[in-house]
C-alpha cells in the first residue's frame, strides 16, 4: 500500500512521517519513504510518501505513481495527488478542500493536521491506535493533544478499510536513509573525526556525526566553511586518523581548493557530494546528478582521483568504507557521488542486512606507518619498487618529512630540479590510479540476453531495477559504482551484445553519457534525462524509456 501526506512546510508533515515510520518498524513492516520538501521556509508544499509492503517479503520497490491513500491539507496539495490516487475515495483532507469526498473531510486546525493525517493513514495500514498513540506521546515527550489523531482514525475507520493487517513476526529492523548509512559505514570504517558545515542535503551527516562520534571516543566539529572543513580533514588524515567530508554542490566548489593539495601531498581524503539541483545555489531541496563533471575535473592542473557512486541506501554502508580503503591504498582523493534522493529517502532494513554490509569491507590502511613504529633512512615520496611510497604519521620516529603543496623532491623539499622530478615523482603520482582494483566497479542487473541495456548511478539504481523487473525480456541494467577511472573492461562486458545502451541520469546535458561515450561501442548511446528537480516514479521512468527508444533526440555523439 502507498500512502501520502501533503501539507505546507512547518505543519509537521515530516514529524507525522517519522512517527509512522517508527510504528511500522516496531510492527515489523517493510517500508520505504520519500521526503519532498520546498525551498520556501514556510508555506511551500511538503510531502511524505511511504510504500508499505504487506507481505513483508521482497525488496521495497522504487517510487510508484499510484497512491492508495493521500491526505491533503489544501487545494494545492489536492492538485498534486488527485491524479495519483487509485480511486477518489482514497483522497482525505480538510473540510475546505474541493474534490475530497464529503465522507473523507473534516474540520481541521492547521496545527493538528499532521496528527489527523497520521490517524487516517495508520488506520488504513491496519496499525493499532494504541501503538500510534504511544509513539506520538514518546515523540512529543508526552506533551501533545491527541484529539486530532483519534478523529483521523475514526474518519478512516468509518469508510471502507482494508481491515487490520496481521502484525508479522517483527524482524529486527532499522530505519535507514542514505545519510544514515553513510555515517554508519564511516564509523565502522574507523572514522573518528568529522568536520562539516551545514548544507542541504548533507547537514544530517554533520548532525549524526555530532551525535554519534563522542560515543566512540571521536569528535565532530562544526566549522566556519567548507574550505575549513576540507583542510581540517586533510590535517586529521595527514595525522593518521580516518575522516571524510560531506557537502553539496556549493560546498564542493569551495572544497575544490583542498583536492589538489591532498593529491599533491599524497594524503588520503574522502569527499562526499550529496548532489542537489545546480548551478550556484540552484534548487537546494531538489535532486540532481549534475556535479559529475566537477567531480571528475575539479582543480587546476592534473592530479589523480577516484570517483565512486553507491547504487542504493544499503550500498552506502559499503561504498564509504571502500572509499576510505581506496584513499589509504592509493594516497589520493576519493570522491563519492551521492544524490539528494538517495541521501534522504528512508527504508526499513533488517539489521542482519545492515550488519552484513558493514562487515563485508575490512579496513585496509595500505602503506600507512603508525606509531609506535619507527623508520630509518626514510624518504616520504620515494617508491623504489614501482608501487606507492610509505606514509608515516606524526610520532613515528625517523619519519619526519615535509608535506608541501609546492612541487617537491622525495623528501618533500620544495624548489627541486623540476626537470628531474616531473618525469618521475609527478608521473608516479598521476599514474597511481591507473590500476585501481575495486571489487565491484559495477553491478549488472537482469539477463545478458535482453537487448536494451540501461546504465545509471545513485538514485537511478532502483528505477533500473524496477524497469528490468517490469520488462525482463527487453531491459537489462548496469549500475555503475566506479565512475573514474571508467571501468572500461567491465562496462564493455556488461553492455556486450546490447542492441542499444540507454544512459539514465538526473541532469540536462547527459554528463554520464558523455563520460561513457568513448568506452561504449558505436561511440554513443541514447539518454534519459530529467532535470526539473523531481524524481521519477516507476511509471514515469518506463514512459521516458519508451520515448527515448522512439526518438534520436537524446543521442549523444562520442
Amino acid at each position: 500500500m502507498v500512502i501520502a501526506i501533503c501539507g505546507y512546510t512547518g505543519q509537521g508533515v515530516e514529524t507525522a512521517g517519522a512517527i509512522l515510520s517508527e510504528v511500522l518498524r516496531a510492527n515489523g513492516r517493510r517500508f520505504r519513504t520519500w521526503r519532498d520538501f520546498s525551498t520556501i521556509i514556510r508555506g511551500g508544499l511538503t510531502s511524505f510518501e511511504a510504500y508499505v509492503d504487506e507481505d513483508t517479503g521482497g525488496e521495497a520497490p522504487a517510487r510508484l505513481h499510484a497512491v492508495d491513500v493521500a491526505v491533503v491539507w489544501d487545494r494545492q496539495a489536492a492538485e498534486r495527488y488527485r491524479d495519483r490516487v487509485r480511486h477518489v475515495t482514497g483522497l482525505y483532507g480538510a473540510a475546505t478542500v474541493d474534490g475530497v469526498p464529503n465522507a473523507n473531510r473534516d474540520v481541521l486546525d492547521p496545527v493538528g493536521f499532521n496528527l489527523w493525517a497520521l490517524g487516517v493513514v495508520a488506520c488504513k495500514l491496519g496499525l493499532s491506535p494504541e501503538d500510534v498513540q504511544a509513539a506520538a506521546m514518546a515523540h512529543f515527550h508526552q506533551r501533545v493533544n491527541l484529539e486530532p489523531l483519534h478523529r483521523g482514525y475514526a474518519k478512516a475507520a468509518g469508510s471502507t478499510s482494508s481491515g487490520p493487517v496481521q502484525a508479522s513476526d517483527a524482524p529486527d529492523t532499522a530505519i535507514l536513509s542514505g545519510n544514515d548509512a553513510l555515517c554508519l559505514g564511516a564509523i565502522h570504517g574507523g572514522v573518528r573525526i568529522y568536520c562539516g558545515y551545514p548544507i542541504t542535503p548533507a547537514s544530517e551527516i554533520l548532525e549524526y556525526m555530532a551525535a554519534w562520534l563522542p560515543e566512540v571516543g571521536g569528535r565532530a566539529y562544526q566549522v566556519e566553511d567548507e574550505i575549513a572543513a576540507i583542510h581540517m580533514a586533510i590535517g586529521a588524515s595527514y595525522a593518521g586518523m580516518r575522516t571524510f567530508v560531506a557537502t553539496s554542490g556549493p560546498g564542493i566548489d569551495l572544497m575544490t581548493e583542498g583536492l589538489g593539495y591532498a593529491a599533491t601531498i599524497e594524503v588520503p581524503l574522502v569527499v562526499v557530494d550529496n548532489q542537489r539541483g545546480g548551478p550556484s545555489t540552484g534548487m537546494p531541496t531538489k535532486t540532481e546528478q549534475s556535479d559529475l563533471r566537477h567531480l571528475l575535473y575539479a582543480g587546476h592542473w592534473e592530479f589523480p582521483r577516484i570517483v565512486l557512486a553507491p547504487t542504493g541506501v544499503v550500498d552506502c554502508l559499503a561504498v564509504i568504507q571502500e572509499a576510505l580503503n581506496l584513499a589509504d591504498l592509493h594516497q589520493c582523493p576519493v570522491l563519492v557521488a551521492l544524490d539528494l534522493d538517495l541521501a534522504l529517502r528512508r527504508i526499513s532494513v533488517p539489521w542482519e542486512t545492515v550488519n552484513d554490509a558493514l562487515m563485508r569491507v575490512p579496513a585496509l590502511r595500505g602503506r600507512t606507518v603508525l606509531p609506535p613504529a619507527s623508520v630509518h633512512g626514510y624518504r616520504r615520496f620515494a617508491a623504489e619498487d614501482g608501487g606507492l611510497p610509505w606514509r608515516t604519521v606524526p610520532g613515528v620516529r625517523g619519519g619526519g618529512y615535509v608535506a608541501s603543496g609546492d612541487e617537491h623532491d622525495e623528501r618533500g623539499w620544495m624548489e627541486p630540479d623540476f626537470q628531474s622530478v616531473r618525469p618521475t615523482l609527478h608521473r608516479r603520482r598521476l599514474e597511481k590510479v591507473h590500476c585501481v582494483r575495486y571489487d565491484r566497479p559495477l553491478t549488472p542487473v537482469g539477463s545478458p540476453e535482453a537487448p536494451v541495456c540501461l546504465v545509471g548511478t545513485g538514485a537511478m539504481g532502483e528505477l533500473i531495477h524496477a524497469a528490468v523487473a517490469a520488462h525482463p525480456d527487453l531491459y537489462r541494467g548496469v549500475l555503475l559504482r566506479q565512475l573514474w577511472p571508467v571501468p572500461a573492461d567491465g562496462l564493455l562486458a556488461a553492455v556486450a551484445g546490447a542492441r542499444e545502451v540507454v544512459v539514465c541520469e538526473y541532469n540536462a546535458t547527459g554528463q554520464l553519457a558523455h563520460l561513457l561515450a568513448t568506452t561504449v561501442p558505436d561511440g554513443g548511446c541514447r539518454t534519459v534525462r530529467r532535470y526539473d528537480g523531481e524524481h521519477y516514479t516507476v511509471e514515469a521512468f518506463l514512459a521516458a524509456l519508451e520515448a527515448a527508444g522512439e526518438t534520436l533526440h537524446g543521442r549523444v555523439r562520442g
Partner: protein
C-alpha cells in the same frame, strides 16, 4: 637519546634574504621545543604561503606546507586528531590576517590547543613588496602608489574580541625574549596567538629593526582585565610579552588513536541503541 638543536634541523638551507626576521623565528621555535623537551617527531610545524611559509621546510620533525591562508584549518585538524602531538602553526600577516583571517576568528573561538606564530612584516615580501593587511594607512607600495587607504588589521584586538585565551607578541630582534614567550605559548592548554614583528629588510623600509627597537614596550605581566588590555594597546602600539591569558576550557579532542578500532559487536550494540 639526549636531544640537541641539530635534531630540530633537517639539513635544508633556508633561502630567505640575509637579515630576514624569519631566521630568528625558526631558531626560536627549535630552541623553545628543545628547552621544553618535546622530541621533534612529536611536533608538527604547519605553515602557509609566503616567505614565512617556507619555515616548515627547515624543521627536523614533521612539516606541513599548506595552501595560502589554510594554515589554521590544517593545524586544527592535526591538533584535534592527535592530542599526543604538539602543533605549531606559522605564517605571515598576508596569510593569517588577509586571506586566512576568517579562520583565525574561528580557531580562536574553538580554542583547540595549538600555537599560531604570525611573522608580521607588514608587506607581501614573497611577491615583491605589495601592501599587506598590517601595512599602516598611507603606506606606499606598488599596489598602493598613492598611499594605503585602508585601516590596518589589528590582530591582537581581533583575537581578543573573538575570545582568545592567550595573546602574545614578540620581536625577531630579541631572541631570548621570544624563546620564553614561545615556551609559554606551547605550554598553554588552548589556542595561543603569538604575533612576531619580523622585519622584511628588502621591501619594508619603514618598519625595520631600528624602528622596532625604538618602538617596542616590554609588558611584564598579562592584562588583568579587558579594559587594561585595551588601555595597554592604546598607550603602547608595540607591546611585547604575554599580554592576555584566560582559562576558558579548550575544545574537546579525540580520545582514541589512529591504531584503535572499535570491536564489531560493540559497534552493533551501539548502532541498535541509536537506530532502534
Amino acid at each position: 637519546m639526549t636531544l640537541d638543536l641539530k635534531a630540530y634541523e633537517n639539513g635544508n638551507r633556508p633561502t630567505w634574504c640575509p637579515g630576514c626576521g624569519d631566521y630568528a623565528v625558526l631558531k626560536v621555535i627549535q630552541r623553545a621545543l628543545l628547552e621544553l623537551g618535546i622530541a621533534p617527531e612529536d611536533v608538527v610545524l604547519v605553515s602557509g604561503i609566503g616567505c614565512s611559509g617556507k619555515i616548515s621546510h627547515y624543521f627536523g620533525g614533521y612539516g606541513v606546507h599548506t595552501t595560502h591562508g589554510r594554515v589554521l584549518p590544517v593545524a586544527q585538524g592535526i591538533a584535534a586528531a592527535r592530542p599526543d602531538i604538539a602543533v605549531i602553526a606559522a605564517g605571515g600577516d598576508g596569510d593569517g590576517y588577509g586571506i586566512g583571517v576568517g579562520h583565525l576568528v574561528h580557531a580562536v573561538r574553538r580554542n583547540l590547543p595549538l600555537t599560531y606564530v604570525v611573522m608580521d612584516n607588514g608587506v607581501y615580501g614573497n611577491t615583491k613588496g605589495q601592501t599587506s593587511p598590517t601595512s599602516p594607512t598611507g603606506y606606499r607600495s606598488s599596489t598602493s602608489p598613492h598611499g594605503n587607504a585602508d585601516e590596518p588589521v589589528h590582530p591582537l584586538r581581533l583575537a581578543w574580541s573573538a575570545g582568545a585565551t592567550f595573546i602574545g607578541q614578540g620581536f625577531s630582534g630579541d631572541i631570548r625574549h621570544l624563546v620564553e614567550l614561545l615556551k609559554q605559548a606551547v605550554s598553554h592548554p588552548g589556542f595561543a596567538l603569538v604575533n612576531v614583528f619580523s622585519p622584511c629588510v628588502v621591501f619594508n623600509k619603514t618598519h625595520d629593526y631600528a624602528f622596532y627597537r625604538r618602538s617596542v614596550f616590554y609588558q611584564e605581566t598579562p592584562a588583568r582585565s579587558s579594559a587594561e588590555l585595551i588601555q595597554l594597546l592604546e598607550t603602547h602600539p608595540f607591546p611585547l610579552g604575554v599580554l592576555w591569558r584566560t582559562d576558558r576550557p579548550a575544545a574537546a579532542r579525540l580520545e582514541t588513536g589512529p591504531a584503535d578500532a572499535v570491536p564489531s559487536d560493540c559497534m552493533r550494540r551501539w548502532l541498535r541503541g541509536t537506530l532502534g
